[in-house]
Amino acid sequence: MALPTLAVHKFASCDGCQLSLLDLEDELLAVAGVVQIANFMEASREVLPPPYDVTLIEGSVTTAHDAERIKQIREETGVLITIGACATAGGIQALRNWKDVDDFTRYVYAHPAYIDTLQMSTPISDHVAVDFELRGCPVSKYQLLEVLVAFLQGRRPNIPTYSVCVECKLKGNPCVMVAQGTPCLGPVTQAGCNALCPTYDRGCFGCFGPMESPNTGSLADRWKEMGASERDLVDAFRSFNAWSDAFREESDRQQASIEIGGVR
């Protein structure tokens, strides 16, 4: 019986999310027994011809060439799953999306055709239809395994969309905001890491991206009561998931109020 085929492709990224597959030390050989690894350059020289049943995408789109390449990949695969903050939200390299706006006039008139692709780092879903997005910078390898197995079995993956706060409560962690006065993005960040940072006496910095319908505004107010400035909030929301809708909008709101404040 032919095994389902798996492809793994890289766009602008650090390789960390695809490394999560090889970090499944106990499960890797078992996975390789139930899927045919058909195109995974980091692991194998062998490339089998498309189409593939399942394709994992790491990384964001940052060049005109990559914007074309992802379309081709979409055509060659059944299921397309994006893994990690780069692929699902543009990644840390999306910080240039603002920087370029500042430098806009330097480039815009010379070669406007390049603006969109070369200047922006965008998630895969801005370019093609995506069947499932797995969050995290990096993804949790156990969540990755769950997603793979679920698609192979033809069911929806069981990936919670609640917040890191819920994980802290389930773990019995004392709240770092209440107990230590440490600013934390846990209330608006999607679970998946098992509340890692608060477990290490650190506030969450949002590497799993926004949870479903996060209340970023009220968390921002809470941070300000704890002494954070608007600039601190802009930095906090603009990190690994800066270009996700919820974090981008909140950071822009904070940035706007800095600018209004500056005029006054």
Partner: protein, 430 residues
């Protein structure tokens, strides 16, 4: 009649990131050799500007998922240099320990899954497992033992969350660290078996004339501290890096090439570290190296797999020593006062010297950043190796020639994701 051959590999496999190789040979004359990096740049240095200095370890870690500790260590040491703080005692030891974990994890990955398949003629470690399952399982378990150190100390294996300027957010208890010991005892034996296993491979002949560059420390095999030395008399402090090395933007590559001013190409990584610091290895690691047929200086890049195995054994032994002697520190981090200044940090990433420099404003925000990763430094050397190997294997058919050339690139365990973090936002829009 002229006989022209072009061998090109458009997407190199079993390396971290997107790179390609192309050689042209006309009538047995080498016309062109090129190792290029086409991975898109991610402009880290540009967007670090203006960020809080405390972001540096978390953000620069994202340059590379395979060696995040290296980025975290070089960045925190550079920041501490800027602020004039020294982190000593158990915190310094814990930093060595987490680095041991990364070396073990990264070396085991490269030895077993990326490089050994070249010597045994398999497309991948997974193909290799079909015939040598116990060998691949040993490699995966060894990798996991390294990852367990990073996971415990750092919170997770990829992009750990526990490293900060001044130390850690939370330090482990002695009992927590001791949970690692049984598996590390196993790993010590496994590392010895690894050395014996890889030293039995057949190595293409190569006797290069490298200028090796690495850190050197009077008392220890280098991780986080030391002077930058070479086998041609270089001996400088980390702060003098830019006076000695230059980075150049070469058109066909999205990474900067480094060279030593006036002299040219140099070599960083396990071979350089080993050859410049042999006497700092443990007696056991030295003995195993001799038993494996290595001299004190190794100029055959194909034998880097043996050297990586020796370093893996060293890292396991060093981890066991640190855990054995560990007494928890009074506080998880050293306090410091932010001030305006410039700082330099260089540490030994699994793939070689990783240099960071930051200028910091008086409010603690980053004014300017420079990052020079090992693979960028090795690019010129990789190309000259390609030329050397090509000259000696011209009689091979194309397919086999391509493979040995690929293998000679993989000798460096090149990390292309690292090499393309890129200096600045200067895209050629011409």
């Amino acid at each position: 009649m002229t006989n022209a051959r072009e061998i090109s590999v458009e997407y190199l496999a079993r390396v971290e990131g997107e790179g390609s190789m192309r050689v042209e040979v006309v009538d047995d004359h080498i016309e062109h050799v090129e190792f290029s990096i086409f991975e898109p740049p991610r402009f880290f240095e540009a967007f670090l500007r203006g960020r809080p200095h405390t972001d540096a370890p978390d953000i620069t870690a994202r340059i590379c998922g395979i060696c995040p500790i290296a980025y975290q260590m070089s960045s925190v040491h550079a920041m501490e240099d800027a602020f004039g703080v020294t982190v000593g005692g158990p915190l310094r030891e814990l930093r060595r320990l987490i680095y041991c974990g990364e070396w073990i994890e990264s070396h085991a990955l490269h030895i077993y899954l990326l490089h050994a398949p070249d010597f045994l003629g398999y497309q991948s470690g997974i193909h290799m497992a079909a015939d040598h399952r116990d060998v691949v399982e040993r490699g995966l378990r060894l990798k996991k033992a390294g990852n367990a150190i990073v996971g415990l100390l750092g919170g997770r294996e990829i992009h750990p969350i526990n490293v900060k300027v001044g130390g850690f957010y939370r330090t482990p208890t002695k009992a927590e660290l001791e949970t690692l010991v049984p598996e590390l005892e196993w790993a010590k034996e496994a590392a010895i078996e690894t050395i014996r296993f890889v030293s039995g491979f057949t190595f293409p002949e190569a006797d290069m004339d490298f200028e090796f560059v690495s850190l050197s420390h009077p008392d220890e095999y280098p991780f986080n501290e030391g002077r930058i030395i070479s086998n041609r008399g270089l001996d400088i402090s980390v702060a003098e890096f830019n006076e000695t090395f230059v980075e150049e933007h070469v058109e066909r590559s999205n990474a900067l090439h480094s060279r030593i001013r006036e002299r040219g190409a140099y070599h960083v990584g396990p071979l350089a570290r080993y050859s410049l610091n042999f006497d700092k290895l443990t007696p056991l690691a030295q003995n195993l190296a001799r038993e494996a047929g290595l001299e004190r200086v190794c100029m055959n890049p194909f034998k880097s797999i043996v050297v990586r195995s020796v370093e893996t054994l060293y890292a396991v032994e060093e981890a066991l020593r640190i855990i054995d002697e560990y007494e928890p520190p009074a506080a998880p981090a050293v306090p410091y006062t932010v001030k305006e200044g410039e700082g330099h940090g260089a540490t030994e990433a699994p793939r070689g010297l990783l240099y960071h420099r930051y200028r910091v404003h008086d409010d603690g925000r980053i004014a300017d950043a420079q990052i020079v990763p090992p693979t960028a430094q090795n690019q010129l050397t990789i190309e000259s190796d390609l030329r050397y190997v090509l000259e000696r294997h011209l009689d091979l058919p194309d397919e086999e020639l391509a493979w040995v050339l690929e293998q000679s690139i993989r000798n460096y365990d090149p990390c292309i994701s690292c090499a393309t973090h890129f200096l600045d936002l200067t895209v050629d829009r011409g």
